[in-house]
């Protein structure tokens, strides 16, 4: 999964470097809150450990062997921010010292494996293991599934990066300039290997390590367990942001929602059946179909009335101003999601309280 130089276009590399830099910045900021003098040796040694894990030849069912990424165990022990930094450092050393993975594609590799991999691993592990005790067998299964998901998510993102190359970057004769395969080839080619071997290797090593740590050193699993512990060590992920900034950002985004109505035309692929029946259909529809589209496809017409939105086109019927309608829809949407998350949180807390009191 280490993408070498030459497979991705410079603009793809630059975009993914920008995304990776944003990820590193946020991760470094979060771990710095712990204690910088403690973070440097912890992340460094864990990065060295991740490097060693990637070198292990792991026997897989079927008699073959595979290599793990080490990203899942990093996310479980360090939390997502620590894992992003540790795996990125390991990947940087692989690229700059051992020549494994490119220099121009280092941002892409870090984005795929360190950022996407860590977040998927951490999210899946927390979701599946939620409420279980440190010694629970569910944690082993959670680690295995998280590892499988993380490796495949990283492969999926890499496959998408490969697959968009021939579409976006080709010369006048149609020769692809970078990775030559479209999504229809890149996706199955990458995913078959990862759904069978690489994902399995990550699942096996993550589950095995969690099972080992449950017996040998359960305190290492405490940090991201979500369960209260006496004398728990300082966590890398426990520092929770003040919600004020989040509220400001949400309010700002809500205020900016009417910006969408400034855009001319219709978003590509968001056409309604009525737009096909106009005398002059939008140019995007015309260019996306072979010949002028005289009427909407039958399937689209059949499914169009399956669900009628309460606020069609982001504006309740009684609101005349489009901008106010957008704002109102944003407020309603945010409020609805907040209510849902509060209910879910209340439910989880009640469940956890019942478990620990019992």
């Amino acid at each position: 999964m280490h993408i070498p130089d030459g497979y991705l276009s410079p603009s793809t590399c630059a975009t993914l470097y920008a995304a990776a830099i944003a990820g590193w910045y946020v991760a470094l900021k979060r771990v710095k809150r712990l204690l910088l003098s403690r973070v440097v040796p912890l992340i460094s040694v864990f990065a060295a450990f991740a490097f060693v894990v990637m070198m292990f030849n792991l026997p897989l069912p079927g008699g073959t062997t595979g290599h793990a990424l080490g990203v899942t165990i990093a996310a479980i022990v360090l939390g997502p921010s620590g894992a992003v930094l540790a795996i990125s450092i390991a990947l940087a050393i692989q690229a700059l010292f051992f020549g494994d993975g490119g220099i121009s594609t280092l941002g892409a590799n870090c984005f795929n494996m360190a950022i996407v991999g860590s977040l998927v691993a951490y999210g899946s592990y927390r979701l599946i293991a939620a409420g279980s005790s440190i010694a629970s067998k569910r944690r082993i299964a959670a680690a295995a599934i998280a590892g499988y998901f993380a490796a495949n998510a990283a492969a999926l993102v890499a496959a998408i990066e490969f697959g968009i190359q021939p579409v976006l970057f080709h010369d006048a004769a149609g020769t692809p300039l970078y990775a030559p395969y479209p999504l229809s080839v890149a996706l199955p080619a990458m995913l078959i290997g990862h759904l069978t071997f690489a994902g399995l290797a990550e699942a096996v090593i993550s589950a095995g390590l969690v099972a080992y740590l449950q017996v040998a050193d359960p305190t290492l699993l405490q940090r991201t367990s979500g369960t209260p512990a006496e004398n728990a060590p300082a966590t890398l992920c426990a520092a929770v942001n003040s919600p004020r900034r989040l509220w400001i950002a949400v309010a700002l985004l809500m205020l900016l929602t009417p910006l969408g109505i400034l855009a001319a035309g219709k978003a590509w692929g968001e056409w309604s059946p009525s737009e096909f029946s106009r005398t002059a259909p939008p140019s995007q529809i015309a260019s996306a179909t072979i010949g002028p589209a005289a009427r909407a496809p039958a399937g689209m017409q059949r499914l169009a009335n399956l669900w009628t939105a309460p606020f069609p086109a982001y504006a309740p019927a009684f609101v005349k101003s489009a901008a106010f309608g957008y704002l109102l829809s944003a407020m309603f949407g945010v409020g609805f999601l907040l209510a849902l998350s509060l209910l879910a949180q209340q439910y989880l807390e009640r469940r956890r309280a019942t478990r620990y009191s019992g």
Binding site: P4, P41, V45, V52, M55, L60, T65, A92, T175, Y181
Partner: protein
């Protein structure tokens, strides 16, 4: 697979990584073209050439850059056999295998047909496969030249002089140091386990054994990080990283930088 096969192959992988690192140290101390330049010039110059390779859209330009990489290697006393073994053959096998189907499945003008026209080779397919292969070979050669001709400590100092955060440099330096310690520890554990293993182990037992070995390495890593933290604190470390930077540019370094940047710019210009 023999029960010790996976242990053996992992141990061999560890040994190869250590020998590669030792080889880099040895080549970096030879007197040659790249070694005579300031490490910052090497880093900027070779990164610029990698970028030029990526930006060039013409096969001829990429091949010219490949030739330039071979000449830089020869003048830097890097053996061509080493490059061939370490880079060219590996890339040829890996990228060649990936690029091969593109010859057949890329849409375009057919230049040869087989099996009654159902299998065809297209001009666009051949062009894209060759371009990909040449580009990856050339970029990997430049990267390997940087790795072989520059001690790791100098690469880090050069990165620091480009305003890379000190924390990141400190982590890269420490990780590099502890990789070798952990690789050696893991290698010794595998060796001792292999010497105690008789006969064929079932697959599930092999997996358990590997997970236990990695688990012990993890516990040792965490214990090591605690020891390092205490050692750093006892020496007065309070979170501020200071890195000595003793590089000084000479006129020869400026000439080198100019040549690298001009070559990269010309390659991008012609290959656009």
């Amino acid at each position: 697979m023999k029960s010790g096969g996976f242990l053996q192959s992992t141990a061999v992988g560890f040994g190869r990584a250590l020998s590669r690192a030792l080889m880099s140290e040895e080549v970096a101390h030879r007197s040659g073209l790249l070694q005579s330049l300031d490490p910052r010039v090497r880093v900027i110059g070779l990164f610029a050439l990698v970028l030029a390779v990526t930006l060039s859209r013409k096969l001829t330009v990429v091949l010219m850059l490949f030739l330039a990489a071979g000449m830089i290697a020869a003048f830097s006393r890097v053996s061509i056999a080493t490059l061939a073994r370490r880079v060219w053959l590996v890339v040829l096998a890996f990228t060649g295998l990936i690029a091969l189907p593109a010859i057949f499945i890329t849409p375009g003008t057919p230049i040869a047909t087989f099996a009654g026209g159902s299998v065809r080779i297209t001009a666009q397919g051949v062009a894209t496969a060759l371009l990909l292969l040449a580009r990856v070979e050339t970029a990997a050669t430049f990267t390997t030249l940087l790795i072989l001709c520059t001690p790791w400590a100098h690469v880090l100092k050069a990165l620091r002089s480009f305003r890379m955060p000190q924390e990141a440099i400190a982590m890269l330096a420490m990780t590099h140091r502890y990789i070798f310690l952990l690789v050696e520890t893991a290698g010794q554990m595998l060796e001792s386990r292999q010497s105690r293993t008789v006969g064929r182990l079932p697959g599930a037992e092999q997996r358990r054994m590997t997970a236990r070995t990695v688990g012990v390495v993890l516990s040792k890593s965490i214990a090591l990080s605690n020891d390092v933290y205490l050692a750093m604190q006892s020496r007065g470390f309070r979170g501020e990283v200071r890195i000595l930077s003793g590089f000084r540019m000479r006129s020869w370094d400026y000439v080198g930088l100019l040549v690298f940047l001009c070559a990269a710019t010309i390659a991008v210009w012609i290959g656009r």
